[in-house]
Structure formats: structure tokens, C-alpha cells
Symmetry: C2
Subunit: 136 residues, 2 copies
DNA sequence: ATCATTGCAAACACTTTGCATACGC
DNA sequence: GCGTATGCAAAGTGTTTGCAATGAT
């Protein structure tokens, strides 16, 4: 946990207990949780935790560029600590969101049609391989 | 307007006056309006129009596959009648959303990592060419 | 002692639901 | 006349804001 603390400090974020726990939770692999997921999970161990703090914290993380907001779905925002360029696949059946490694030179382009690009999101939707198995 | 009527009927949608007007408004080029934009514009000419009707109508259009929901931004849903595969660029300065014609073979692939893809969205963000001009 | 963070409660914004009215065939 | 579409009001959701209490140095 010590290295996470240093990471936050490096990014200009005072590493309070709540912030550390929220970042640690986000940073556990390909997870992309929603605010509710974070709250429900962490509130078990931090009973005083409030959703306001989670919103504050995620907005701070976003502002400082250490998380990305995923808007695959109109009604659910997910958060990702993996800042490298990659795509996301969401399964319409089970709701799982997968990281997809893409190799699209085009995506890394700095401009398109004269517009300057500074953020890219490739979202795919369908049925994931696990759900495909079950319906087979 | 007659051909729009026939189009809706073909897609299994009863072409009421409100539905026609909403679809016609959506279908005016690269526009991608939000519910509010549709409402504000059409309410001028259809004073009794309610937002509920717009929500009902857009959900119906979505269900019948004649519009796509764009979720470039967490807090704003936009609607698009262009069902062909293309990307969207949103300008952080002026808020304008542009259609981008892309040629990425990968994007048309039917599967990735064993998952079956049935919907694709490529969202780009940055500063559009018009806003770049002004700050120059 | 001071300044920043937390978290409650209230406010806000967006979308859906329930239902009575109005419309079109 | 009947079945559907409309639109008001209310409910439901997700997020932000105001502010007092708390915590860290």
C-alpha cells in the first residue's frame, strides 16, 4: 500500500485513508467499477464512508488525470485506472466489462479532419465468451 | 415529409405527428441533438409537446433500431439517425459533435477475444478545427 | 491553530412511470 | 368505438452543492 501512497503524492493528491482505499480498489486489475460498486464494497470495511466522498475523490482523480471515466452505457459511469490506450467490451448479458488490447494506428493519431484529438474511447458491446458458452 | 412517413411505417412505427417531427429533426444531417435540444427547438412550433413524448419516442426509435444513442459524455445522451459505422468527435470547447468517417477494418470485426460484437462506438474528444483557429 | 477532507442533508438534473385525456382509424 | 399516443404530475436515480464537524500537521 506504501507505493500507492507515493503514487498519489507524486500525482499531487494528498493520500487520505479514503482516497487510498478507493484508489486501491479501483486499481485491482480489469475491474471498472461504478460508484455504487465502490461504495457497496468499501462501506463494509469503512462504515462511515459516504458516497459524497467517493464522488469527490473520483472527480479529483479525474482532474489529476489518474483515472478515466467510461461511458459505455448511458446510465452507468465506470472508472478505470489503466490510462494506456485500450478498448472496452461490455457484455449485454452479464454486464461484465473487459479490457481489449487493440492495435489500431489510426486511434493514436493526434488529429482527424483537422481536429486535435486528446481523448479516445473505443467501446464494443455484445455477448461475452462466457455467456456465449452458456447459451450454446 | 412523405418519404419519412413511409420510412417509419416500414420500420414498424406508427407515424404520428410528434414522431414524424422528432425523426425529421434528428435526420437533418450531422446533428446529434440531446433531448433538451429537440424539446427546445420543436416546442416552439408544437407548444403542447412534452418531454415525456420525446423520451417515449426516442426509446421506441432505439428499440426499433432506427436511432443510436451516443454517450460521449457522462452527463449527456445524444441521438443519431446515421446507422452506418462511423466515429464521433466532440469538441471540449464548443461542444459540437462531428461525424468522422473511419476506415478501420478491425472495427467491423464480428468478434474480439472470443466475444461476439454487435455494437461499436469510437468516440474522440479534443479541440475542433474551428476552435483551434480562434485560439491561434 | 490552521487548513483540507469528510460526510450529512438538501438541491439538482435527467429519465421513467402511472394514469387520465385526446386522437386517429 | 376502440386501441394507441400524448402529456401532466409524481416518483425514481444519479450526481453535485452547502456547510458543519472532523482530522491531520
Amino acid at each position: 500500500m506504501e507505493y500507492l501512497k507515493e503514487y498519489l503524492i507524486n500525482e499531487g493528491i494528498h493520500p487520505s485513508y479514503q482516497r487510498l482505499r478507493i484508489f486501491e480498489y479501483l486499481d485491482r486489475g480489469e475491474f471498472h467499477p461504478t460508484v455504487d460498486m465502490i461504495y457497496n464494497e468499501l462501506a463494509k470495511e469503512i462504515p462511515t464512508l459516504s458516497k459524497t466522498t467517493i464522488y469527490n475523490t473520483l472527480n479529483l482523480f479525474k482532474k489529476n488525470g489518474i483515472v478515466t471515466r467510461l461511458t459505455i452505457e448511458a446510465n452507468e459511469v465506470r472508472y478505470d485506472t489503466n490510462m494506456q490506450l485500450h478498448a472496452h467490451f461490455k457484455c449485454d448479458d452479464c454486464g461484465m466489462v473487459y479490457d481489449i488490447q487493440v492495435e489500431i494506428p489510426y486511434l493514436t493519431s493526434l488529429t482527424v479532419d483537422g481536429h486535435r484529438i486528446c481523448e479516445r474511447h473505443l467501446y464494443l458491446k455484445g455477448t461475452c465468451k462466457n455467456c456465449l458458452k452458456e447459451t450454446r
